[in-house]
């Protein structure tokens, strides 16, 4: 589905990713975990084309993305929920969701299953995005990325700063997205219990490289925990 091969990524002069290679199998939920600053979000931003990737290859369904501008990658079927949500605060919830139709040329309507997943959103349709709580914004950001029914959904720390009851809802929603629509999911996460409960594969990152990868059910939680805290 999504294959990264020997990807380097830089912020100015500093190289954050070093020959990173990773595979995200079709229809699976894959996580990328690790301590702060090891390059997890940079990996996602590289996939989105938001930072420079001078070396390597990023392919989706065999198609090379590395030279493609961000908006074309999205139109090719990548949905992205960034760290901090980045909803458009001065637009209403409805307008934020409608922006999700852009990969389809701005036409069509918001699929009903979005509201089944996040029943809170229709209640706030006319409210400004910036007026929502953190958890509601996270649900809006995920819903917005799903409107165009992407092939792969990329989530950057979906549980960050969210209260436990909403984290549970988000976990359920991620499972449903994967099961109902067969959407492949790649997520960066720091919350290990969430990863162990909701993902099929896990990858641990260290200094811009992947140092551990396993099927989640076969992974040694203690070893992963150790890698994340060392």
């Amino acid at each position: 589905m999504l294959t990264l091969s020997n990807v380097d990524a830089c912020y100015g002069e500093s190289r954050i990713l070093r020959k990173l290679s990773m595979e995200v199998p079709k229809g699976k939920i894959v996580s990328l975990i690790g301590r702060n600053g090891v390059g997890k979000s940079t990996t996602l931003r590289s996939i989105m084309g938001l930072i420079k990737t001078p070396e390597g290859s990023i392919k989706m369904d065999g198609e090379e993305l590395i030279q493609m501008p961000t908006y074309k990658r999205v139109r090719n079927g990548i949905g992205y929920v960034p760290q901090g949500r980045d909803i458009f605060p001065q637009m209403t919830v409805e307008e934020n969701l409608e922006l999700g139709l852009q990969p389809l040329g701005g036409k069509g309507k918001i699929p009903d299953y979005i509201y089944d997943l996040f029943p809170i959103l229709p209640q706030f349709a006319k409210r400004k995005g910036g007026a929502l709580s953190g958890g509601q914004q996270q649900q809006l950001a995920i819903a917005r990325a799903l409107v165009a029914e992407p092939k792969i959904l990329i989530l950057d720390e979906p549980t960050e700063g969210i209260q436990p009851s909403i984290i549970k809802d988000i976990g359920v929603a991620i499972k449903k997205i994967n099961e109902w629509k067969g959407i492949t999911i790649l997520m960066v996460e720091q919350y290990l219990d969430f990863v162990l409960e909701h993902t099929d594969y896990l990858n641990v990152m260290e200094k811009g490289e992947i140092v551990y990868r396993k099927e989640t059910k076969k992974a040694d939680a203690a070893e992963v925990q150790k890698l994340m805290t060392e």
Binding site: L50, T70, Y71, D86, F88, Q90, M91, Q102
Partner: protein, 301 residues
């Protein structure tokens, strides 16, 4: 009383002219944060377009319906300045996003080139547009006279404002435009081609300057420096109103227009200009963000 009403009308008229020349800037500077020193020259292009359309129409239309030229000139001026704006954005501005001083210098250079081009094409002497007959003269009520062309400009401004409101807040393109201005990387992550949106947004701002040029062509002689007379007031109106907010530009233009006319009544036009500038400087010292504040991310790539 008559004098007060005349002063109020003149204030309203000047405000509407400042607003019309500021609307384009409200987009290019207010939303995109591009300091386009050539904005005044787009006003000039609009004014000269009106003059050229007048001459072309007078060549083949009977005199009785020659007034049509003016209504043809408005969309033509918009189209030509839209095209100029699009080309300028593509060739120059797009390479200078996030480099405000560079874009200021580059567009200043372009403004000089455009002024010289106008001098080469139309000469150094001013040219005139004859207002359609029904815009000549004025409406007399009591002892007050309200000139038709100024009333027309007020309506034209209202029309442009309504048009802009619909484009920005009610159209699909406006949604993309607001998304790009609020959060450029995220807008790209929504599948929006932000470069294309930048180009069209800048072109719309330039097109509005062209319409402003059509209106100022009714008020006096057109020469290569006509845009310079309006550009300072326009920048002041946008900054005073609060960069990035349309309502702020409307209010800012009102303050500039009315305060200019009122101070002119008690002093001279030169002192009035200095006083208005002083008022704006003092106000911005106290409230640098302007009258309205909007959270908007600049073109920082």
């Amino acid at each position: 009383m008559v004098q007060l009403i005349n002063t109020l009308f003149n204030g309203l008229s000047l405000s509407s002219i400042v607003l019309l020349t500021s609307l384009g800037l409200a987009i290019t500077f207010g939303l995109m944060r591009v300091i386009n020193m050539a904005h005044g020259e787009f006003v000039m292009i609009g004014a000269y377009t009106t003059y050229v359309v007048q001459n072309v129409f007078s060549g083949f239309l009977p005199e009785s319906i020659q007034w049509i030229f003016y209504f043809a000139a408005i969309p033509i001026a918009f189209g030509i300045t839209f095209l100029f704006g699009s080309i300028l954005e593509k060739l120059v501005i797009s390479r200078l996003y996030g480099r405000e001083m560079d874009s200021l210098l580059a567009t200043w250079g372009i403004s000089l080139i455009l002024q010289q081009a106008a001098r080469s094409i139309f000469g150094t002497q001013g040219v005139n547009v004859t207002a359609p007959s029904f815009l000549q003269g004025g409406l007399k009520i009591g002892g007050c006279t309200f000139s038709y062309n100024r009333i027309f400009i007020i309506f034209l401004v209202l029309l442009c404002l309504i048009g802009m409101y619909f484009v920005i807040y009610r159209s699909g393109f406006g949604k993309k435009m607001r998304a790009v201005m609020q959060n450029r990387p995220m807008a790209q992550c929504m599948g929006i081609d932000s470069r294309k949106v930048d180009n069209i947004t800048f072109a719309i701002g330039s097109g509005l300057a062209g319409i402003a040029g059509c209106s100022v062509a009714l008020l006096g002689s057109i020469d290569s420096t006509i845009g310079q007379s309006y550009i300072v007031n326009s920048f002041m109106a946008v900054v005073l109103g609060g960069v990035g907010k349309l309502a702020g530009t409307v209010l800012g233009s009102g303050i500039i227009g009315f305060s200019s006319i009122f101070t002119e009544n008690y002093t001279s036009s030169t002192i009035a200009k200095a006083l208005v500038l002083l008022i704006v400087i003092i106000f911005l010292q106290k409230r640098p963000q302007g009258l309205f504040v909007i959270k908007s991310r600049s073109l920082d790539e």
